[in-house]
Amino acid sequence: MSYVAIKGGTDAINASKRLFEKRIQPEKQLPEKDLLTTLPHSCDRIIAEGALYSDALAVKALLRSGGDLLEAAFYLRAHRSTCRRAGIAKEINSDDIRITRRISSAFKDIDGGQILGPSCDYIIRLFQVQSSDGGKISDIAKTSVIRAPSALNNLRDRDMVLLLENTEGEAVDVSRQFPLPPYPRSALMQVMSRGETGSMLAFAYTSMRGYGDVHPTIGDLRTGMAAISFTHPFTDGKVKIGEIRTTFCETVGSFQRDPKDGKLRLSNGFGFCLGHNETRAISMSILDLAIHNQGYSMGGADIAANPEIIINHIDGIESMGFTNHFKLPHYVTFQADLHVLDKARSSCSD
């Protein structure tokens, strides 16, 4: 019987790390630039959940983690903690982005058109190679810069869409100060925009499947390049510092009386993420709809409509960490449990 066996020990830990490295075979890994171009959706998910827009670091993280996307996002989050915030960029208007794909399921015809762009939505998931139809991608699709207003703007012009009151003034940044309940919408939106894709999907799915009343219609779903601008520190002018890949989604929910003036209007929800990930953006817009338009939902107490549940359970870095912490030794606490059980058993048998 060895006392040391139940303790970890530095050597064992180091050996475990070496074994992991051996398993992912760094010497055989693909060049970083190829990974970015051939696995763009992996990188986009890492960027979104890691809440740090860096292709270079996303690819490094993907390699380090052996392809585990949540682990990879974790690398980015950890790196964020060492970075000082340089400033706050100007807000982005989704109408202004350079569109790569944009659809609306609410309207057949929309200003700017339905632009399918690159998507795997229409691919039949068969392993056998399907021969390309030999068709050409038009020059317009390859070169033109497309911008279009939201497909919901027509409804807005006709005063049919509810506008939530902005009671916040300045948006919260949860990475600087995590708010207490009642949670400001900006905080919830930020937590959701960096939430774990699968968790977002599952929570949103509860709402759309029956535990809620949200069967939304996608008003405008778009991916594209958004310009990031800063105020120049010396000239005070607006300067563009670069472009980022983004996904936006506006969904339309049911109508009800607007508390402001008693008129009937449509509710809507908004979703956004870094990179191209439509499932995330749609899920987020449904959660936003459920949480912030509770009057429009059958069950305000449902999971997806509960801001306390969403804000505290949707972050993958947190839920993964805590789930895995159960692997840490708990023998002191478990032994204490057994002592209490012993006492209770003898007390109950008296």
């Binding site: 019987m1 006392y3 040391v4 139940i6 303790k7 970890g8 020990g9 530095t10 064992a12 830990i13 974790f74 690398y75 989050r77 950890a78 790196h79 964020r80 903690s81 060492t82 970075c83 000082r84 915030r85 949860v174 990475s175 600087r176 100060q177 995590f178 207490l180 309940p181 009642p182 306390e308 505290n312 870095i317 947190e318 993964m320 960490g321 805590f322 789930t323 895995n324 912490h325 840490l328 030794p329 708990h330 023998y331 002191v332 606490t333 032994q335 204490a336 449990d337 057994l338 002592h339 209490v340 006492k343 209770a344 007390s347 109950c348 008296d350």
Partner: protein, 281 residues
């Protein structure tokens, strides 16, 4: 591209943690929200304690990291290596030599001094989680100092099982005001929180909360006046390795028998060494 920062976290984040630590000490037992940066170790693995340690560190510190009483435990090793690699400070397993001690689930056996700071890793900072999950309501309960739900739980347990079923994370009252979660230390360690010469800080990274017990502060377990606070009992048992008695022991179950060893391995090693030195003298 990647600039090295002393003790990993950027300066503004350290400032926020430091500000909240000062508040935590000024309001003993009150849980202060903080923004809680992500660490390169996973949430739930001591990131709250780690952020506190990193915000405290200066060049001439000597850090000890221990997990369930053992400095050789996987996570303790990892955290200690990380801290020393980003700060260059000395590390020790010896409780007496440490200026900062980061711990999970135990308080070292060797008595602490005024020159030391004990940093606890905390999974659930909120003592009320077991009776009230809603954060807004929890805040209200603390504001009203109305801990009746905890008392009811204690009463129900006592009437059904003879005592509270809470084996660790036993609720404590700080300076006759706030009820506080002392982190998952065993009941044996609860009494040792009371009137400690060392400053005791608590960090919950995932839950984004930190709190403190200043030195020389009254800490009492939640208990009815006419009921004794019963801690883990090791009467008549001693460490099989060093022979120590009257301390917290690990129970090792093997086929047909139970063996006892010091939970605090540094304490055990020191006792053995002292015995060996005495023989050599």
């Amino acid at each position: 591209m990647i600039k090295r920062v002393f003790a990993f976290i950027d300066e503004d984040a350290k400032k926020e943690i430091r500000r909240n630590l000062l508040k935590a000490v000024a309001i003993p037992g009150y849980i202060v929200p903080f923004s809680s940066r992500e660490m390169p170790v996973a949430r739930g693995w001591g990131t709250g304690g780690l952020q506190i340690s990193l915000s405290l560190l200066q060049e001439d510190d000597c850090i000890k990291v221990t997990d369930q009483g053992c400095d050789g435990s996987v996570n303790a090793v990892n955290i200690r290596d990380f801290i020393t690699s980003v700060s260059g400070v000395k590390a020790t397993v010896n409780t007496r030599d440490a200026t900062i001690i980061q711990t999970r689930h135990r308080i070292p056996e060797h008595p602490l001094t005024e020159d030391q700071i004990l940093v606890f890793q905390v999974p659930y900072p909120e003592v009320l989680t077991m009776v009230e999950p809603d954060m807004a309501k929890q805040k209200q309960i603390h504001a009203d100092s109305d801990y009746s739900k905890l008392w009811v739980l204690l009463y129900e347990d006592t009437s059904q099982y003879g005592d509270s079923r809470i084996s660790n994370r036993y609720p404590v009252e700080i300076n006759s005001h706030y009820m506080m979660d002392p982190s998952p230390i065993p009941k044996y360690d609860i009494a040792r929180l009371n009137n400690s010469p060392a400053l005791q800080l608590f960090g919950a990274g995932r839950e984004k909360r930190l709190y403190a017990i200043p030195p020389y502060t009254r800490v009492t377990p939640l208990k009815f006046n006419d009921r004794p606070f019963i801690v883990e009992d090791f009467k008549g048992k001693s460490c099989k390795r060093c022979g120590a008695e009257g301390i917290f022991l690990d129970e090792i179950h093997t086929t047909g028998s139970v063996h006892y060893f010091c939970s605090d391995t540094e304490f055990c090693d020191n006792k053995l060494k002292e015995a060996k030195d005495a023989i050599e003298r």
